[in-house]
């Protein structure tokens, strides 16, 4: 069996006395699209922030290519080829597009002086690649002037700057227009075709069903279900299952089934 790109084992995270995650295990294999779904507050975003190194887990282990890592951090995560497009896009809106794309990995010489020309030409290439064709914007445009979809484009351009092994998209279609959503799906298929992996987090189960090959349902800090697409008949079946997962909560407050 090929090694997992990344594997999280028994991850727990508590904020004070509240458990956001109570022992979640998750892995991603090379070249697969994993759909991570769950209700609001299920712990999806906490999980991917742990994946990105932004939040430190209370307990649990992280393996990269089968090797246990210590001192997991955002820099380590990016160095391991994991790029995350956060739900809030994680952009510095007063800065130029090019500065956002190279945030945290500026192209610089040995003394730290930036190679601005190369950054701009790279940014132009990336913007073309993701279909940023507007003449109104240049890499020097300020991100604050862009629309939601365009900002998402900048965040995605940043994620594909280096040949990442795994791209994590947290609710990438929220607040996007239909054409922009279509662009994001097109992008996911492109990445998939190039043999890289994707973790796709979404509310819209139809969206996730269309695009993912394996589904992980998170419910109240635990993995409630993990199934390949072949084991599920249709999006409708997945939705019915999600409703079923939500039901025990209602039952617990009422009568014991």
């Amino acid at each position: 069996m090929a090694e997992h790109i990344i594997e999280l084992k028994n991850i727990t995270k508590s904020f004070g006395s509240i458990y956001a995650l109570g022992g979640v295990s998750l892995h991603v294999d090379p070249g697969e699209v994993v759909g991570l779904i769950g209700d609001n507050g299920a712990g999806k975003s906490t999980l991917i922030k742990i994946l990105a190194g932004v939040i430190k887990p209370t307990s649990g282990e992280i393996f990269i290519n089968g090797e246990l890592v210590n001192g997991w951090s955002p820099a380590r995560s990016r160095a391991a080829g994991i790029e995350t497009v956060f739900q809030d896009r994680a952009l510095a809106v007063q800065q130029s597009i090019v500065r956002n794309i190279f945030m945290g990995r500026e192209l610089a010489g040995p003394f730290g002086w930036l190679n601005l020309k190369k950054q701009i030409s790279e940014a132009e290439r990336l913007m073309r690649e993701i279909g940023f064709t507007s003449k109104v914007f240049s890499p020097n445009s300020i991100v604050g002037q862009l629309s939601g979809g365009e900002r998402q484009g900048v965040a995605i351009a940043r994620a594909i700057l280096k040949q990442a092994n795994l791209i994590v998209l947290d609710e990438p279609t929220t607040a996007l227009s239909l054409t922009e959503t279509a662009k994001v799906f097109h992008f996911v298929r492109q990445v998939r075709a190039s043999g890289r992996s994707i973790v796709f987090i979404g509310h819209n189960i139809h969206h996730v069903y269309d695009i993912a090959e394996r589904f992980v349902v998170i419910d109240r800090g635990r993995v409630a279900m993990e199934k390949a697409k072949s084991e599920i008949g249709s999006a409708q079946e997945l939705i019915e299952y999600m409703e079923e997962v939500a039901r025990p909560q209602a039952a617990a407050t009422g009568e014991v089934v």
């Binding site: 990105a52 190194g53 932004v54 951090s73 955002p74 820099a75 995560s77 990016r78 160095a79 995350t84 956060f86 994680a90 952009l91 510095a92 809106v93 007063q94 800065q95 500065r99 190279f102 945030m103 945290g104 990995r105 500026e106 610089a108 730290g112 002086w113 930036l114 601005l116 003449k135 109104v136 240049s138 020097n140 445009s141 300020i142 991100v143 604050g144 002037q145 940043r158």
Partner: protein
Amino acid sequence: MADVAKVAAAETSAPHPAQRPVRKFLFANRAALGSLAVFVVMLLIFFIANPRVFSSWGLYAAVLTTLPVALFMTSPLVFVVTSGEIDLSFPAVMGFSSLVFAFVVQAGFDPFLAIAAALIFGALLGFGVGALVVYGGLSSLVATLGMNFMLRGVILILTNSKSIAVPQLSDSLAFQITSTQVWGIPVQILWAVAFVLFCALLYNRHRFGAQVHVVGDNPDSANEMGINVNWTRVKVFAFMGVGAALAGVFSTMINFTWWPTSGDGYLLPVIASVFVGGTPPWGGIGTVLGGAIGALTVSFIQTGVVGAGLSGFYVQFFYGLIIILSLLGHRFNQVRYR
């Protein structure tokens, strides 16, 4: 119809107006250019008020001797403000570093060694202040205010509030190359201009400057992208310390005396310079060159008001007027993105 098509074609083939070089330059430097306009208008008013005084070089030479001290602190303070913090402790750091400088010179060591000692000491003090603010999780406004009092207190305790005369500086090589005049131009200003240009490059074309911008703009995003936010902030404070130490050395060189109050008078003018220069107080953006022009404006007010024939009582009023007018100007010259 054909005309419309032609216009449309011309528009698509030519770069967008915002991309034309002149427009781009104006847009990218509009804050600095705005402060330059304020300075020019102010100078013009002074000149009209008293053409005789304002056409003599002596007045400008006097300003150019003291302005460098402010410039060495204004530029690093732009970094501090851009990173989303403020530093009110630089006057005491300036006083303390120049005390080290004066001590080492008085002890008979070479002034160059004394300069090195002052710079290292300033960097360490700045580092300490930064570490306290950042790792202590304190408000930089309050914590650096406290540090300013405390460091000044230590200076007074150590020296019994006595000044230190270092006349031996006058025939040292260090003095010759930092603080004499060449063709009537004070050499200090050349060093200060070089420092400002270095800071401007560091700010706009160096990884450090880029990360300072991002950290001040959105610290959460900077962290998520693997930038060490805390360490970047500490480095900014250490850099401020180096600037304050340079200012201290140059101010001691002016009249070969270290005063226990050294640096105190710079607190408000230097802070005002940063904002008059067009760096907004909310962090994320700023301008080093604008800050330098702001310092020029602020340091000219006193000389200008007296030179224009008004009594010294008008100085404070004009300080306030210029600050408020500049802020209003920048308010309309700059959009805030969120």
